[in-house]
Amino acid sequence: ARGLAANKETHFGFQTVSEEEKGEKVYQVFENVAKKYDIMNDSMSLGIHRVWKDVLLYKMNPSPGILLLDVAGGTGDIAFRFIDYVRSVRERQLRRKLKHHQNLSWQEIADSYQAEAVKPLGDSQVVVCDINKEMLKVGRQKAQHLGYSEGLSWVVGNAEELPFGDEKFDVYTIAFGIRNVTHIDLALQEAYRVLKPGGRFLCLEFSQVNNPLLARLYDLYSFQIIPVLGEIIAGDWKSYQYLVESIRRFPPQEEFKAMIEDAGFLKVDYLNLTSGIVAIHSGFKL
């Protein structure tokens, strides 16, 4: 019975807000933190978030030619990793091809170097989609700064209503974003819609810690330290208070798995990282 009540309520961290308000409040949080987003990630997770994102790419194992949609991709961490991964796979491919053709003419060898230069990604592309313009702005600046230009596009869009046609992408990722979406089920349905048959859904998100002792330490760290870090580094206690609260509001691994299955995905599975502090959920549109 979604949408029947005028002021349907939901949670914003531990607060109760109307669904409309939640979207606005989340937008403001990310608008405020955009510039310090990356440095805060490093500080809060002591750099471990980089490993989590690397594992996501490892699980994805993309090959050249894959089209990736990275939703809530904001500052581009997944997109850049994707480009690096595909580039190195492509280099290896080309080198292997060269090795197997020992009796090539010089012209043919020069041509293959050309191919590598012209298509370093082998037609792979990543579209970074985010609802928040500030986050995208930071992402674009980072891309320029780090030298990423090819195969990358930046689109403003809402995960619950993606501005893309059906069956366009091979892989859909959402890293640390789905927790902030007001209607997670809609986001999952949209993910299903825009994926090609055979496409893969991958979600990297904070989840429930399975070890009780670690859970206690994690809670202590989350609620005592993280907002303080937010105040000191970003001058913004409240946004980071929201962050740690929103993590606790998100469904645990099995429940989220069920939600993904409800959207139509098959072979849904999850991998716990760091004792369940984060989990990578994966599903296929078959």
Binding site: D219, L220, I232, G235, P251
Partner: protein, 256 residues
């Protein structure tokens, strides 16, 4: 003391483990522990972390005014009650506590101040704001003080800071700020002022340090000691008073 709180049960609370019982984390509750708008309740551990962190950041980057503010709030808890009592024991001070005036651009009659003769508090204050390109509206509201009246006291201290610059005749460069901090440290005893006074000079060159040590600091200390509590002056009602006469009344010696 921080108390535990469980999240409001709006719709389905899908959680498989309970909230930490006695960590006293600060969350935005439905009015419960927040004593004034903008108040963020904090546990003693959080205050200690905030104090340390803000001290380090403020030292590293003195232009992070928000960190200086946080340092003041988290370390001021012992001293603020004394300041508040000094205000209560003074007729003008207790009026301020009751009426809670705030110095804001929206409440200041800027044009009216401009027409005041030179040498009056109002005219010189306005000149100070314009010369140094500062505004009273950039003062951060108190967040981490766990008492509503004390939050006002520290707020008043912050808003009066610019008037201190005017009365002491000090600009907002590093040297001027250090001198004002020395004065405020003697006057208020706030740890943040003491720290600022002690560590501020670190960033000055030798020549300035000399001027500071030989002339400015002794003057600031003498004035700070002899002056009445600066928080007890209802500045908003004294715009027409000349700076010189106000100095005399409070007990501040003329600047060197």
């Amino acid at each position: 003391r921080a108390t535990p709180h469980s999240p409001p049960s709006a719709g389905s609370v899908r959680r498989s483990h309970t909230e930490p019982a006695e960590d006293g984390y600060a969350g935005e509750r439905d009015g419960g522990r927040r004593l004034y708008p903008g108040h963020i309740p904090t546990s003693p551990l959080q205050k200690a972390l905030l104090a340390t962190g803000s001290a380090l950041v403020a030292l590293y980057d003195p232009y992070r005014h928000d960190m200086v503010a946080v340092l003041g709030e988290t370390t001021g808890c012992l001293v603020l009650p004394n300041l508040r009592d000094k205000m209560r024991n003074d007729p003008e001070g207790s009026r301020i506590l009751q009426e809670r005036p705030r110095i804001r651009l929206s409440t200041l009659d800027v044009e009216g101040l401009r027409w005041l003769p030179d040498g009056t508090l109002g005219r010189e204050y306005l000149r100070f704001l314009e010369d140094n390109k500062v505004s009273p509206d950039t003062r951060m509201p108190a967040k981490f003080v766990d008492d509503e009246e004390l939050a006002y006291v520290i707020q008043r201290y912050r808003e009066v800071h610019d008037l201190m610059h005017t009365l002491l005749g000090m600009p907002t460069n590093m040297l001027g700020e250090v001198v004002v901090k020395w004065f405020e440290a003697i006057q208020t005893g706030l740890p943040m002022c003491v720290l600022g006074a002690a560590f501020g000079p670190v960033r000055l060159n030798a020549r300035k340090l000399q001027v500071l040590a030989t002339e400015l600091i002794p003057w600031a200390i003498r004035s700070g000691r002899s002056a009445n509590c600066i928080l007890n002056i209802y500045y908003e009602q004294r715009w027409e008073q000349t700076v010189a006469s106000l100095r005399e009344e409070i007990g501040i010696f003329p600047p060197p």
